[in-house]
């Protein structure tokens, strides 16, 4: 279980990026974090990844406090961040250097096939399209078999078709080992298609505004009326979060408890 307890971040320049953010995330859950620009979504993710330290509060994974990058936590950024001097296969195997070469090769080959890029093993990253590069980044993170995978707007630089394709693909890959996914997005449909729970944040300082449980079974039909309703609900919450006259609402809304009125 991933536990966020009053995670607070004040940057050295005085920006109050995150204020007492708390949440409990179960193993295998898919969480979408959505909110206006600058409301601390990346800050929160970087704190969970152990890349930046929180000013106060704690992040614990299975009872172990996280203050530095952790073997069980992987992260995927908005850009693929592939190493341009390594082939696609070597990029995927980058985090497996402690494994014996044969095992590493086998796992990399499996991961490549799993993201549908078996024929690109020896290609340089610059020869990939944006979507292919992001697939490689996903494979590189998943091949290390993390318990928690963090994704910071992973598809926002891609065109609509590729984005939808990769969303479906991500769910596919998630079903293999069912890691916890924490996905930052600004795409409402992406949040509703992927997440078990959507956490809506609001800025100045960044904090949790509303929590919406999406109890739709998978695979989800993007055209179903119920899907539309969840989308509208998240959108409304997002609008309210940006409206300064709306006071903070604490606590979660249960499914049915105000969804379809």
């Amino acid at each position: 279980m991933l536990q966020l307890a009053s995670v607070t971040k004040v940057y050295p320049n005085g920006v109050h990026a995150l204020e007492r953010f708390s949440s409990e995330i179960q193993l295998g859950e898919i969480i979408a974090i959505i909110g206006g620009s600058g409301c601390g979504k990346s800050t929160l993710l970087r704190a969970i990844a152990g890349l930046d330290r929180a000013s106060a509060g704690t992040v614990t994974l299975d009872g172990e406090a996280i203050s530095a990058p952790h073997a069980k936590v992987g992260i995927i950024f908005q850009e693929p961040r592939l190493l341009p001097w390594l082939s696609v296969a070597d990029n995927i195997g980058f985090g497996l250097s402690e494994l014996p070469a044969a095992e590493r090769r086998e796992r990399v080959a499996k991961a490549l096939a799993r993201v549908g890029l078996a024929d690109k093993a020896k290609v340089w990253p610059r020869e990939l399209s944006g979507g292919q590069a992001q697939r490689v980044a996903i494979a590189r993170a998943l091949v290390a078999q993390p318990e928690v995978l963090l994704l910071d707007e992973p598809f926002s630089a891609l065109d609509a078709f590729t984005r939808k394709d990769l969303q479906d693909h991500l769910l596919d890959l998630w079903a293999d080992t069912r890691p916890t996914l924490v996905l930052v997005t600004h795409d409402v449909e992406e949040a509703v298609v992927l997440a078990d729970r959507v956490l809506v944040m609001r800025p100045h300082p960044g904090r949790l505004f509303e929590e919406i449980t999406i109890n739709l079974s998978r695979p989800r039909d993007r055209n179903a009326p119920l899907f539309e309703q969840f989308k509208r609900h998240v959108l409304t919450a997002l609008d309210r979060s940006l409206d300064r006259t709306v006071p903070d609402t604490q606590g979660r809304r249960e499914p049915g408890g105000g969804l379809w009125w």
């Binding site: 530095a68 992260i75 950024f77 850009e79 961040r81 190493l83 341009p84 001097w85 980058f94 340089w124």
Partner: protein
């Protein structure tokens, strides 16, 4: 119907063209570059033969070639080339070693940079030739002072190129190393070194070019062997053909060593976008 026809026509035309193009560009590029100097040389040769000029101060190509051939036959040419090459080689080696060591330390370690870099920047402002009298006093007029001058010339571009490259390594790529929990040495070996390599190779090539520049200066300050000596000797004895011959040989060897450096480092940089090379050919 019309649309498919229109789409197919250029595609069909393009196929044989792209197949023959690498050949064409590989041949045409050096040939195009040679066109101007060769025709100028030919024109001058004809002008001298036709008697429009006596060619005493600017010798025609044939005379230059005869001079080179004579120098080669007497074995003198090999002696001078070997001497100059070994001076450049040793000076380049020392300059690269010092530039890499200091550049690496100052690029990686902020405290060292704040401590040492201002001094190096100040020294850089001194024209390197200005060191010559001091080097001669300290190191004598023989090989040591010459090599030292060349090494100084090579040092600065290597140092500057390496510190600059290390400082501009993409923080986002370094973060990938952090996510995979690389140790300090692993971070250097697996992220920083490969990221810095392209700029470092450029710095080496600039350094080598300066090494060739400074070997001439070094050999002007009293040498009895070397291509620079051939230049001075040609001037003092009034042999312009020998001067031009030495210049031509400088150009050829300088270009050849640069080319060797490029060839030697090419396998390490295969991953780079070849856009620059391609657009250079176009």
């Amino acid at each position: 119907m019309t649309m498919t026809v229109e789409l197919q026509a250029p595609a069909a035309a393009a196929t044989p063209q792209t197949a023959s193009r690498p050949w064409l560009t590989r041949l045409a590029r050096p040939l195009l570059g040679l066109l101007l100097p060769l025709s100028l040389a030919l024109a001058w040769e004809l002008a001298v033969r036709a008697g429009w000029s006596n060619g005493r101060l600017v010798p025609p190509p044939s005379k230059v070639f005869t001079t080179i051939a004579e120098l080669a036959q007497s074995g003198e040419l090999t002696r001078h080339i070997t001497m100059t090459l070994s001076r450049v080689g040793i000076g380049f080696g020392l300059g690269v070693a010092a530039g890499t060591l200091l550049g690496g330390i100052c690029g990686y370690w902020g405290l060292a940079r704040r401590l040492v870099d201002p001094t190096i920047q100040a020294l850089r402002a001194i024209p390197s030739i200005a060191w010559v009298p001091l080097f001669i006093l300290w190191l004598g007029i023989f090989e040591t002072s010459k090599v030292a001058l060349i090494a100084v010339g090579v040092f600065f571009p290597v140092y500057l190129g390496l510190t600059g490259a290390i400082l501009s390594v993409d923080r986002k790529i370094v973060e990938v190393g952090r996510v995979f929990r690389l140790s300090g040495p692993a971070m250097i070996r697996r992220i920083l070194l490969p990221a810095v390599l392209p700029a470092y190779v450029v710095a080496l090539r600039v350094g080598l070019g300066l090494g060739w520049m400074f070997v001439v200066a070094a050999e002007f300050m009293g040498a009895s062997e070397g291509l620079g000596y051939l230049l001075i000797d040609g001037q003092q004895l009034g042999k312009p053909a020998q001067i031009v011959a030495a210049i031509v040989i400088f150009a050829i060897i300088g270009k050849a060593t640069d080319w060797l450096l490029e060839i030697a480092t090419a396998p390490l940089l295969r991953w780079q976008d070849s856009f620059a090379r391609q657009s250079g050919a176009a």
